[in-house]
Amino acid sequence: MGRLSWRLAEVAEVRPENARVVTLVLQVPGWDGHLPGQHVDVRLTAEDGYQAERAYSIASAPAGSRVELTVERLDDGEVSPYLAGELRKGDQLELRGPVGGYFVWEPDRGGPLLLVGGGSGVVPLMAMLRRRAASGGHVPARLLYSARTLEDVIYRQELERLEAAGDGLTVTLALTRAQPPGWSGYARRIDAVMLEEVGWRPGERPLAYVCGPTRLVEAVAGHLVALGHDPARVKTERFGPTGVP
């Protein structure tokens, strides 16, 4: 396999997801495709030659030369404020990838799927759900997604649409900080009880993908193993200020 070379992508669209999160729709000439769950390295170069590199999960399902990255702005960050604040349609961006061959899912890997995300950790899980939908997906899938408030939920309308398709996907939200009036869903952090209520039984042998801040990932992966799930079928990825800034 050859070197992952840097490519010059063009920003085709900047799509706000919420107050802190944008999706960058990129056209990447020569892109060879990717597996849902993989990420790319992004490199920024200042006029004085200074460079900063970071990794970002791919949000989109494979679709030709089009690659979407969803980026949360971290105010003390160096790269995310640029990507989620400065970058405009028509700008160019250097990237290379795709990277990562473990936290990935393709329909032929089967299921049922248990996807557990916290905050912007939902991004690689969304790539999997989009791939599943595009494939006419019949793999049963459950997404358990923790966010601070309803406004912080990324892809909310699309998730509602995907669930409404009635093809075996359920979406469950846990709102940890504030809930809208009349909210009847979960209003706490993801815990073992929630995983037992929402997740598959261990005997159903789900493939679990867990992505989010370290505290969430450590807790959820630990609960799943304690509930009797096979550790080899629990894949984890970190996302957030102390993982991939």
């Binding site: 396999m1 200042a46 400065e86 992966a221 970190r238 102390t242």
Partner: protein, 205 residues
């Protein structure tokens, strides 16, 4: 792709000159200690813990938790570098030098490579030379406290001159071989060797 400039991008992090020389290319200084793992953190009972060094050695052996901690101690103070681009500068670990373990098992002349294996199933491969000569440790303390499970406790490998995925968490064994045998990440697109100063991140780098 020389000459490309990201419109409107300016440096925001200002490290000193010392930091600039200590950071390998493409890395930034991270004050915290991020956790990155591919699966659940294994819970290991110290009564059952063993470290086994075997393969092409004259005297394969296992150490219990009490036995390994009775070996002459050795510590590392310096920097570590993760392939996900964070570096942690000026940190410290304590445990035992891999040299001490190798002296006990006596590597055979044919041994050239090592596969480190772990509780939980993770593996990583290294040339034997990268584990010898004061360059590698098995550690159970980080900055004076017991190494937390999410950082690899009870004990992890520490090979700070390579990207940190080589410093395998939850270490259970070292197997000496007469050939190279790519480990977990090395089979999934990451560089076989992983020298941060040469930016050996991915296959082909």
């Amino acid at each position: 792709m020389g000459g490309f400039v990201s419109r409107g991008f300016k440096r925001r992090r200002r490290g000193g000159a010392e930091q600039a020389t200590r950071l390998p290319p493409g890395q930034y200084a991270e004050p915290g200690f991020p956790v990155l793992t591919a699966g659940p953190t294994p819970r290991i009972d110290l009564a059952d813990w063993r470290l086994t060094v075997e393969g092409l050695v004259a005297r394969p052996r296992s150490w219990t938790w009490e036995e390994i901690r009775a070996l002459p101690g050795s510590s590392y103070e310096g920097d570590i570098h993760c392939v996900t681009r964070w570096s942690k500068l000026g940190t410290s670990f304590a445990g035992v030098s891999v040299d001490t373990l190798l002296e006990a098992v006596e590597p055979l002349p044919a041994a050239t490579h090592v596969v480190a294996s772990c509780y939980g199933g993770y593996t990583t491969n290294l040339p034997l030379d990268d584990l010898q000569g004061g360059k590698a440790w098995v550690v159970w303390e980080h900055e004076g406290a017991p190494l937390p499970a999410e950082h690899g406790g009870p004990a992890r490998l520490l090979v700070p001159h390579l990207y940190f995925w080589k410093s395998a968490k939850w270490l259970s064994g070292l197997r000496l071989l007469d050939h190279d045998a790519p480990g977990f990440w090395e089979s999934l697109g990451y560089h076989n060797h992983g020298d941060p100063w040469r930016e050996e991140r991915y296959w082909g780098d």
